[in-house]
Symmetry: C2
Subunit: 298 residues, 2 copies
């Protein structure tokens, strides 16, 4: 089996690869060789460990997105400035490699000068949304470690904003004093809804309510699933309050893990907004496919 | 040298002890044997390692405050409910010990049922403030890992609220993606002031501004001291916004490390409020001295 091309999603902590044929995915695999774990020649070796079995005699195009193109990654793919198409024809950066069986290019991220913001990887998912919905005009929300809200119009990214909601949740639920209040991983939808409503209407309460999760656990036996869902809701509610200009009265598409996208959809539904969710992997692959073809080639 | 009594401040990560004589401190020392690092017999051994040289033939009173009295500490000193005096006569809990040269008591923390909140250690500092300023009526702010705002009236703690500001700053500046933007430990007062003003007036911006520190560093070479002070200012501003009912129009006393108390004093001064700062150790020792004497004994 020799693929037509190979798709690569290379983030900070993970490396995922897909062998692509004319009808779509032929095979896929992944490893924990994220950008943060590698340096120097380690990148090419990590990639070949996964895709080696797919390589034949002729060079195969390999298109990658994500932190692999950061300054501290394998090869820097400098940010492109918004407003612009999420992925521009011919803008993927060719990477010098030792193994002649691969022709590797990295999709550049996007930068916004004011307010200062950056993305790497999400631009490819946004391009994928536009490939799947060519006429889409509105807002794409990509919840995750660093959630992004992206305003898209006429095929271009107009502006975007990043929130550290996922990283804050991870730090607070796993490493702060609040971890004692939320062992396990159960969820409580009612607690989530109430917390979203609280910080969405009164965002200043975020700072005031966090320690209450620990105190509620100590004094009133607040159940761990309720504490965990309440933390998630307080943080997502505060994000939605700050991101209100992005979603209010807009058409919103969610791209993220099913569980996280469902939380955001639930929070937005409480505000009367029906957001559509797209599969994150499908968007990544559609975006990488779009990045592969120079202008006019499709 | 045999002290009249021994003062102990035993927190989660540190153990500090003072040999007290008729005129005050005779000697002091400390170790990293905080509550979190100990269990079972380890508590008494850790204490004796520090105070052993001060012990003679007769039992010496030892008064401790802090997390040593938590359920997971040496011996639980159950919370007392507010409103109440910060330290009530005779409420310190006697701890069974093996070494007959010490007579150990632990000061209980305080609990507030609604909104749920707890403190351990700060009640002793509040008692110290009242010992140093017996007629004080107003608000005591104790900035730290978990900052406390305490409303005191007629010698009693009326209500209090905890903010995780210090822990959030530590997690974000040392363990999140923002750590790349703020190596070293310089400070920038102007960046601090602007950030406090921003979240104090628009607290919903906290969530929206955090990632901007990373992006500002990547795109605009935001200097590390400015990034660090801006993070501190954003968090303290959000705390002050949520704690406004505590400080607005009130007399405020700050009790904390000199550097942190100065940051809070600076932020409050920008709001036209002149807060008085007291030395945290002096407050702890005055509070432990107050806890030592049963009612009518002073």
């Amino acid at each position: 089996m020799t693929p037509d091309w190979i798709a690569v999603d290379w983030g900070t902590t993970n490396l995922r690869v897909w062998a692509m044929g004319p009808e779509g995915v032929l095979a896929e695999t992944s490893s924990a060789d994220g950008m943060a774990a590698l340096s120097g020649d380690g990148f090419e070796a990590a990639l070949l460990r996964l895709i080696g079995p797919w390589l034949g005699d002729r060079p195969v195009p390999v298109i990658a997105c994500g932190m692999v193109g950061a300054r501290q990654g394998w090869h820097e793919a400098p940010y492109r400035r918004v407003p612009s198409a999420p992925v521009a024809p011919g803008s993927a950066v060719a990477v010098p490699v030792q193994d002649r069986r691969i022709d590797l290019r990295i999709v550049p991220g996007l930068r916004q000068d004011a307010p200062a913001d950056v993305m790497r990887g999400e631009e490819t998912q946004v391009a994928g949304v536009l490939a799947l919905h060519p006429a889409f005009d509105g807002v794409i929300c990509l919840p995750g470690t660093h959630s992004k809200w992206v305003h898209v119009s006429a095929g271009e990214v107009v502006s975007f904003q990043t929130f550290m909601t996922g990283e804050l949740f991870a730090l607070l639920s796993q490493q702060s004093v609040l971890r004692h209040a939320m062992p396990g991983d159960g969820a409580d939808d009612e607690a989530f809804d109430a917390a979203v409503a609280e910080t969405l209407s009164r965002p200043e309460r975020l700072a005031a309510r966090l320690f209450g999760l620990r105190a509620g656990s100590l004094l009133h036996d607040l159940p761990p699933p309720a504490a965990r869902s309440r933390l998630s809701g307080l943080l997502i509610g505060a994000e939605l309050a700050a991101a209100r200009p992005y979603w209010l009265g807009q058409r919103v598409i969610l791209v993220g893990s099913p569980r996280l996208a469902a939380s955001y959809a639930r929070a937005l539904a409480a505000q009367g907004l029906a957001a559509e969710a797209l599969d994150a992997t499908a968007c990544t692959l559609a975006g990488l496919a779009a990045a592969r073809h120079p202008a006019g080639d499709r």
